[in-house]
């Protein structure tokens, strides 16, 4: 089974906001929290030109990159058409108000 690592408390991530985890082997991983408290994680690197997705605006299950406005699906890491490309996603879960990421 997956080995889960504790990252932070759910309340540490603002709703419709994010937090960046510095994971040595993965680089920067952005962790997002949606308005209904779902949590998602992916590389903090826009598939377009590497913009920091953690600084984008989160809406529904998407984040809009702050650099050129690509929309990236939070659940699949895929750029929303007509843009193409994708971002590596990581498994995360919330238990008792704490956020864990799969190692």
């Amino acid at each position: 089974m997956s080995n889960w690592k504790l990252i932070c408390k759910l309340e540490d991530i603002p709703q419709l906001g994010s937090r960046v985890v510095h994971w040595p082997e993965r680089g920067k991983v952005a962790v997002f929290r949606s308005s209904d408290d779902e949590v998602f994680a992916m590389h903090d690197k826009c598939p377009h030109k590497g913009g920091p997705l953690s600084q984008g605006i989160v809406h529904g299950k998407r984040v809009t990159c702050p650099l050129h406005g690509w929309n990236i699906g939070l659940d699949d890491g895929k750029a929303v058409a007509p843009d193409v490309g994708g971002c590596k996603t990581f498994e995360v879960k919330v238990e008792n108000g704490e956020v864990f990421m799969a190692a």
Binding site: K5, L6, I7, C8, D12, P14, Q15, L16, G17, S18, R19, V20, V21, H22, W23, V31, S34, S35, D36, P47, H48, K49, G50, G51, P52, S54, Q55, G56, I57, V58, H59, G60, R62, T64, P66, L67, H68, G69, W70, N71, A81, P82, D83, V84, G85, G86
Partner: protein, 641 residues
């Protein structure tokens, strides 16, 4: 009275574009018939690469659905190859005997992959890369086989190799030249490109000459053998060593050809009733293999077919981009330089950025960019305009934003582009045309702009820029009166005005209340409406509504401008460039505190700093950072005297 008849041979990108241009300027002039050898409606050949890479599907790349042909009254014969042009009787005859008479004939038969004349080039498993059939075959091969060899390290070869690699094959690119893309790149940029493709798992054999393809026991190709005796396994060989214009049909009917159908500046062949466009053509001795020039040809041909006789095609300077996701590469014009030219080079191998501009007589004549191609279209525009650059020469290499000193994020870039600047290189659409269409037709989404102008509808790499133009034309929170009735965005039917009024009249003070009262279609809006709603809330009810940082663009949240590499620049206010020693010290202290690597002080004072506050989670030992805006960022106002 019956209409004159126009027959098009070749249902591809250049031919159909000509018909579209024609219908735009003279809709009912001809009875139109189109023959296409492929069993498909016109599709975007360029996007076969993302299809192979698994990023798009065939249905997404169709440009003209069958309904379009019906709607325009065009008789379409798919899957029918024309075998004969009878110019005396003015008719064309297809393989299956179908005949069609014409008053004007348009030939747009494109080109075919060049298959190296080596033993084994006709074995099963050896293909070119040109159409849907080839793409399907590669996708199938990737499911069953392991080793792929791509012959040719040009744009097409690299895109094929990338796609096959993404489909799980072990891919080797064989290239005769000394470096990859030698027709687009100089050696330095090519080496950087090769390195990053190697990081993606591709293998390269440069300066290798293929001797033969070896057949395996199954009858399929099994190996590639080189002149130096080396042999590598291959279950799939893709030849991407160049293309050959399809002019045999025209030549056999007696139309003058010379390595292509020869046309004049009106795209007319030596037979005045016959026009030709696209890759099958040579114009002033040049055959083009990219869509942008072909679409320019299409425009001219359409005008002459319509009988207006305006416009001449005088040739094109081309620019190219490699469509491999994650790799940014741009080259244009004379990128190698030589006699009488000067070069400006910026080389940052560590940061993965290389830019070279070639200048001749104070004009930009070419350039190569790797890693950071944002300014590509701007350089390309300077190049095409032949603008004298001696006044901006010292800053030219740093790009438009520095030269123009216009802000930092992308937004200001779209806003500051002149109307004549080209936005969509594939389709030759300028900013002016896009802005005009947005205003005149009330366009609101990227899709609408695509539909109406064709911008961003080919390779799509300018989609971001088009969106910025949309944003700067119709505004986020700052909507011009003209679009008063238009919805704010796809999340609602309400206009900006209606939202503002509702906030005021119904005393709404949170975004949730706004979304509820106005029946928003999405739970929490999007990047267009949330900032607007937040802005209206705090400006309408400044003491009651709470600012929502999650609804602000990062530049506003942090009072700093995000840069391409994700760091921020902060501009301390110094009125008229004057400051006191104390204030200067305060800036230095702040810069030191936040580890600002450099502080620049040209006309405007800009300092770049990347701020991150780390906090270590005791349980996992992982470090995580709160987004910059929730930390104490040095802000412009802190420095304000």
């Amino acid at each position: 009275m019956s209409k004159p008849r126009l027959v098009l041979i070749g249902n591809g990108m250049a031919g159909v574009r000509t018909v579209e241009e024609l219908l735009k300027i003279k809709p009912d002039h001809y009875d139109i018939t189109i023959f296409g050898a492929e069993p498909h409606p016109n599709y975007n050949r360029i996007l076969l690469s993302p299809v192979l890479a698994g990023e798009m599907t065939i249905s997404e790349i169709v440009l003209n659905e069958l309904e379009w042909y019906k709607e325009k009254g065009i008789k379409l014969h798919t899957g029918k190859q024309i075998k004969t042009i009878d110019r005396a009787k003015r008719k064309v005859i297809a393989e299956d005997g179908t005949e069609e008479e014409y008053d004007r004939l348009l030939i747009a038969t494109g080109s075919t992959p060049f298959m190296l004349p080596i033993p084994g080039n006709d074995l099963p498993g050896v293909i070119g890369y040109r159409d849907i059939k080839d793409t399907d075959e590669m996708i199938e091969a990737a499911k069953l086989h392991k080793h792929a060899v791509v012959i040719g390290g040009g744009l097409l070869g690299l895109e094929a190799a990338n796609g096959l690699k993404l489909r799980g094959m072990d891919v080797t690119v064989v290239h005769l030249g000394p470096w990859l893309l030698e027709r687009q790149l100089d050696e330095v940029a090519a080496k950087m490109l090769q390195k990053s493709l190697e990081d993606k798992g591709l293998k390269f054999l440069l300066q290798k000459q293929t001797e033969m393809l070896v057949q395996g026991e199954s009858g399929r190709v099994a190996a590639v053998r080189f002149k130096d005796g080396m042999t590598i396994p291959a279950d799939l060989v893709v030849m991407a060593a160049g293309i050959r214009p399809n002019y045999a049909l025209a030549e056999s009917s007696g139309i003058y050809c010379n390595r292509g159908i020869v046309v004049n500046d009106t795209m007319q062949t030596y037979d005045p009733k016959v026009y030709a466009v696209g890759e099958c053509v040579t114009h002033r001795g040049i055959a083009y293999g990219l869509v942008a020039p072909l679409f320019e040809q299409a425009k001219v041909a359409a005008n002459h077919l319509a009988g207006y006789g305006i416009g001449r095609y005088t040739g094109s300077v081309t620019s190219t981009k490699l469509k491999v996701t994650g790799i940014d590469l741009f080259s244009a014009g004379d990128y190698m330089g030589g006699e009488g030219t000067e070069e400006i080079v910026l080389n940052d191998p560590y940061g993965g950025v290389y830019k070279k501009l070639v200048i001749k007589d104070n004009k930009l004549v070419g350039g190569v960019m790797y890693g950071d191609t944002a300014d590509g279209p701007w350089y390309f525009q300077l190049l095409k305009d032949g603008r004298d650059i001696h006044d901006i020469r010292d800053q030219l290499i740093f790009g438009q934003s520095l030269v123009g000193d216009v802000g930092h994020a992308g937004n200001s870039k779209a806003a500051s582009m002149p109307d004549s600047a080209e936005v969509c290189g594939c389709n030759g659409i300028t900013k002016g045309v896009i802005v005009q269409a947005i205003k005149a037709k009330g366009l609101f989404t990227l899709d609408e702009v695509k539909k109406h102008t064709k911008a961003a509808s080919s390779c799509g790499s300018c989609a971001g820029l088009v969106e910025q133009i949309l944003a700067s034309t119709i505004g986020g929170a700052y909507t011009p009166a003209a679009s008063d009735k238009k919805p704010v965005c796809g999340c609602t039917e309400q206009s900006h005005k209606a939202v503002r009024e509702a906030i005021l009249n119904q005393h709404l003070i949170t975004k949730e209340a706004v979304f509820k009262a106005l029946e928003w279609k999405t739970p929490n809006g999007c990047d267009k409406c949330r900032p607007a709603v937040n802005y209206y809330l705090i400006s309408t009810w400044p003491h009651e509504a709470k600012d929502d940082p999650q609804s602000r663009f990062i530049n506003e949240r942090s009072h700093a401008n995000i840069q391409k590499d994700g760091t921020y620049s902060v501009v301390p206010r110094m009125w008229g460039g004057l400051t006191t020693p104390n204030e200067l010290r305060a800036i230095a202290d702040a810069a030191e505190k936040y580890n600002v690597p450099t502080v620049k002080s040209p006309a405007a004072s800009v300092s770049t700093c990347s701020v991150s506050r780390r906090k270590t989670c005791p349980a996992s030992g992982l470090t995580s950072t709160r987004p910059a805006w929730s930390q104490a960022m040095p802000t412009a106002s802190r420095f304000a005297p």
